[in-house]
C-alpha cells in the first residue's frame, strides 16, 4: 500500500488558491491568512520555498540592499525601508529575516542568503505550501475557477498566480533561437578568452557582462534602444552592473555597448555572425563572435490563461492588470510577485514602480490580500478612528517614514477619510485606485518623483467629489515632516 500523502492542502474546494512559493506567493499567502482568509490553498511545483532565488541571479548578487545596521531597529516598520529583501510580517519575529543570513561582504545579499531568508519567513510565519504540486490547467465553473494540477483539481472563487517572470523569452530575431538564453549561461570560466555578443541592454544583460569581464576577450552588448542614465530615478538599470558601460564610454577595453537593431544571427562552425543596423547612428554592422547570449528577458509562464481570456501585454509576456493586480479581462484572477510589475500605476512622468521587485510587491501583496478579503469575502478591514488633531501628524509621519510610500513612489498612498465629525485611517491603497474612486471627503499622501526626478511629497484632497493635487516642498535630506510641511498640510486641510 502506498505512503499516505501528508502534504498540506489536498485537492478540493477552497476560497482562494495561491500558485507559487517564491517571495510573491509566500507574502500573499501570509497576508491572506492575516487578513482573515482561512480556506486558502498554496500550491507550488518546486520542492522548497524561494522561487527564482533558488537559481538566479546567475553570477551576481542581488541589486536590492539590506542594511544590517540602520538608524532604526530591525523588526520595526521603519526598518523595512533599509531592508528591501525581507518579506513583511505582522509580528516582530517575522520581520527583517534576510539580515541574519548576510555575511556583510556587501550591503546586498547573495542569492543563497536571499533564499535562506525566504525559507525562514515561511517557517516562522507558518506559511504552509503543498510542494511538488504543479498547476497545469485552468477553467471556469459556476462557482469560480477549477485549477487542474499534477495532484488533481482545485476549485476556488479567487485565484492568485504568483508564478514569477521566469520563462525565458527570446526576441523574434531571425536565427537568435540558435543561441542560448540568459537562463542557460554557463560558469564564467567556460567563456575564458572568448568573444561574447549579448543581445540586450537591461539588467540581465549587464549582469552577465559584468560577470564575464574577467574572463571574456571581448564583450558586446547590443539592442535598439540607447541606454538612459540621465535621470537615474527613471532608469530601470542598476549601477551595480554598469562597469561594462563605463569601460565602453572610455573606450579601448574590449567592452562595447551598441545601439542597433539585430537583423539576423547566423550560426556557423566557428561560432556566430551577427548582422545589425544602427539606430542612433546610420549604418550597418557585421560581427563574428564565439558566443551569443540572448539576454532578451522573460515572460510569465501563464500556461492556458490567455485561452481563458486573460489579456496579455508586452508582446504577450505579462498579464495586463488593473490597479489591484486583477486581470483586466477575467475578474477573479489576480497576480502577485514579480509579475505585478505589469500593473504600472499612474506612471507619472514615466516613472514605473517597484512593483516588480520584492521590496515593492511585498506591500502590494498585503494590499491585495486586504482587497480580496473585503471585495470577495466581505471581511471588512479595521479603519481606526483619528481625531482632527491627530490627522496632520499622522499624515506627516507617513510622508516622512512610511516604507510603503517610499518604496512604491507614486504607486501606493495612505488615505484618511472623513467620517461623521471625525476621521478614519483608510489604510494603504494603490494611488491609481484613490484618484479614480468616488466617495466622500478624504485626503491621501504619497511620495512621488517630479519630472526632474526630485523626490517630492504630494497631498491629494477630495472635497465634494472634486479631487485636487498639491505638491509640498522637497528637501535636500528628504525630511518631509518639518514645520514648513506641517503648516502647508494644515492649510490644505482647513
Amino acid at each position: 500500500m502506498g505512503r499516505v500523502d501528508e502534504r498540506a492542502f489536498p485537492p478540493g474546494e477552497y476560497d482562494v488558491v495561491v500558485v507559487g512559493s517564491g517571495p510573491g506567493g509566500l507574502q500573499t499567502a501570509y497576508s491572506l491568512a492575516h487578513a482573515g482568509i482561512t480556506r486558502c490553498a498554496v500550491l507550488s511545483r518546486d520542492p522548497a520555498p524561494g522561487g527564482m532565488f533558488r537559481r538566479w541571479p546567475v553570477y551576481q548578487r542581488l541589486i536590492s540592499w539590506t542594511k544590517p545596521d540602520a538608524p532604526v531597529a530591525p523588526g520595526t516598520r521603519e526598518y523595512e525601508w533599509y531592508d528591501h529583501n525581507s518579506l513583511v510580517g505582522d509580528e516582530p519575529g517575522h520581520q527583517a529575516l534576510v539580515r541574519g543570513f548576510m555575511d556583510r561582504a556587501f550591503d546586498v545579499p547573495a542569492r543563497h542568503e536571499m533564499e535562506a531568508g525566504l525559507a525562514e519567513f515561511a517557517a516562522r510565519g507558518d506559511v504552509r505550501v503543498r510542494y511538488e504540486c504543479e498547476w497545469l490547467t485552468t477553467s471556469r465553473d459556476e462557482a469560480g475557477f477549477v485549477l487542474g494540477t499534477s495532484d488533481g483539481d482545485y476549485r476556488c472563487k479567487v485565484c492568485v498566480f504568483a508564478i514569477g517572470v521566469t520563462e525565458p523569452w527570446t526576441a523574434p530575431i531571425p536565427g537568435l533561437d540558435a543561441a542560448p538564453h540568459y537562463a542557460a549561461t554557463r560558469a564564467p570560466e567556460q567563456y575564458e578568452g572568448k568573444s561574447v555578443f549579448i543581445v540586450g541592454k537591461r539588467n540581465s544583460a549587464f549582469e552577465l557582462a559584468q560577470g564575464l569581464l574577467p574572463w571574456a576577450s571581448r564583450i558586446v552588448l547590443a539592442s535598439p534602444r540607447p541606454l538612459q542614465t540621465a535621470v537615474l530615478a527613471f532608469s530601470p538599470l542598476s549601477i551595480r552592473y554598469l562597469s561594462p558601460y563605463m569601460q565602453h564610454i572610455r573606450g579601448g577595453s574590449g567592452s562595447f555597448v551598441v545601439d542597433a537593431a539585430i537583423d539576423g544571427v547566423d550560426r556557423n562552425a566557428d561560432g556566430y555572425r551577427i548582422r545589425a543596423s544602427g539606430t542612433t547612428w546610420e549604418g550597418e554592422l557585421e560581427l563574428e563572435s564565439d558566443e551569443v547570449i540572448a539576454a532578451t528577458g522573460f515572460r510569465a509562464p501563464v500556461r492556458d490563461l490567455p485561452a481563458l481570456g486573460v489579456a496579455m501585454v508586452n508582446d504577450g509576456r505579462m498579464p495586463a492588470q488593473t490597479p489591484y493586480w486583477e486581470s483586466v479581462s477575467v475578474p477573479g484572477i489576480y497576480f502577485a510577485g514579480n509579475v505585478m510589475g505589469a500593473s504600472a500605476g499612474l506612471r507619472k512622468h514615466g516613472a514605473t514602480s517597484s512593483a516588480g521587485s520584492v521590496n515593492g510587491f511585498r506591500y502590494n501583496a498585503r494590499v491585495l490580500a486586504q482587497h480580496i478579503a473585503e471585495k470577495h469575502f466581505g471581511i471588512a478591514r479595521e479603519r481606526p478612528r483619528l481625531s482632527r488633531d491627530e490627522v496632520v501628524p499622522f499624515l506627516l509621519g507617513e510622508l516622512a517614514r512610511a516604507p510603503e510610500l517610499w518604496v512604491q513612489k507614486g504607486y501606493l498612498t495612505r488615505v484618511v477619510e472623513a467620517d461623521g465629525g471625525g476621521y478614519r485611517d483608510g489604510g494603504v491603497v494603490p494611488l491609481a485606485d484613490y484618484v479614480d474612486r468616488d466617495g466622500g471627503d478624504s485626503f491621501a499622501v504619497a511620495v512621488e518623483y517630479a519630472a526632474d526626478g526630485a523626490v517630492t511629497p504630494v497631498v491629494y484632497a477630495r472635497r465634494g467629489g472634486r479631487l485636487s493635487e498639491h505638491a509640498l516642498p522637497t528637501h535636500a535630506m528628504h525630511r518631509f515632516d518639518t514645520d514648513e510641511h506641517r503648516q502647508e498640510l494644515e492649510a490644505l486641510l482647513s
Binding site: 527613471f234 542597433a260 490567455p306 489579456a311 483586466v328 479581462s329 499612474l346 507619472k348 519630472a451
Partner: protein, 141 residues
C-alpha cells in the same frame, strides 16, 4: 478582446502616425516606450491630475469625458494626452477606456525629444490636430 495577432512592433507599424518610420526606427520606438492594457471602465487620463503621458491607441475604444459628459470617442490609431503636455497644464478631461484598451505610452518628459528626433511623426500629428481644429470650428460655426 482577443489577443492581437501582431507583435508590438508590427502593431506600431500599422499606425498612420508612424507610417514614415523605418523598421530600425520602429524597433527603437518599441524598445523605448511601453505598452499598457487598461480594463474597460479604467481611467487613463485624469482631469486635474499631473504627470500624464501621451497615448496612442493600438486596439480598443476610449471616451473623452468632461465633468461627467462624454465629448468624443477615440479608436485605434487615435492619440491623446498631448494637449496637456504641449500647453504645460493639467488635463482638462478624463479619458476612460470604453473597452479593454491597448496603448503605446510616451512619458511627458520624453515626448518633445522624441518628436524632435522624428519630425515625420510630428508633422503627421500636426496634420491630425489641424483636421481636429477644423472640425471643431465647423461645429461652432
Amino acid at each position: 478582446m482577443e489577443a492581437p495577432a501582431d507583435n508590438y512592433v508590427d502593431a506600431l507599424a500599422r499606425l498612420a502616425l508612424f507610417a514614415d518610420l523605418t523598421h530600425p526606427q520602429l524597433e527603437v520606438l518599441a524598445h523605448s516606450f511601453d505598452e499598457e492594457v487598461f480594463a474597460a471602465g479604467q481611467r487613463v487620463i485624469r482631469q486635474d491630475v499631473s504627470g500624464g503621458g501621451f497615448y496612442v491607441i493600438l486596439d480598443g475604444e476610449a471616451h473623452v469625458v468632461i465633468d461627467g459628459t462624454e465629448r468624443s470617442r477615440l479608436l485605434r490609431g487615435d492619440f491623446f494626452g498631448e494637449i496637456s503636455l504641449l500647453t504645460d497644464a493639467r488635463p482638462t478631461a478624463d479619458v476612460i477606456a470604453a473597452t479593454v484598451l491597448r496603448c503605446l505610452i510616451i512619458p511627458d518628459t520624453e515626448l518633445k525629444p522624441f518628436l524632435l528626433k522624428q519630425p515625420t511623426v510630428m508633422y503627421r500629428m500636426l496634420q491630425i490636430e489641424a483636421r481636429r481644429l477644423r472640425a471643431a470650428n465647423a461645429w461652432d460655426g
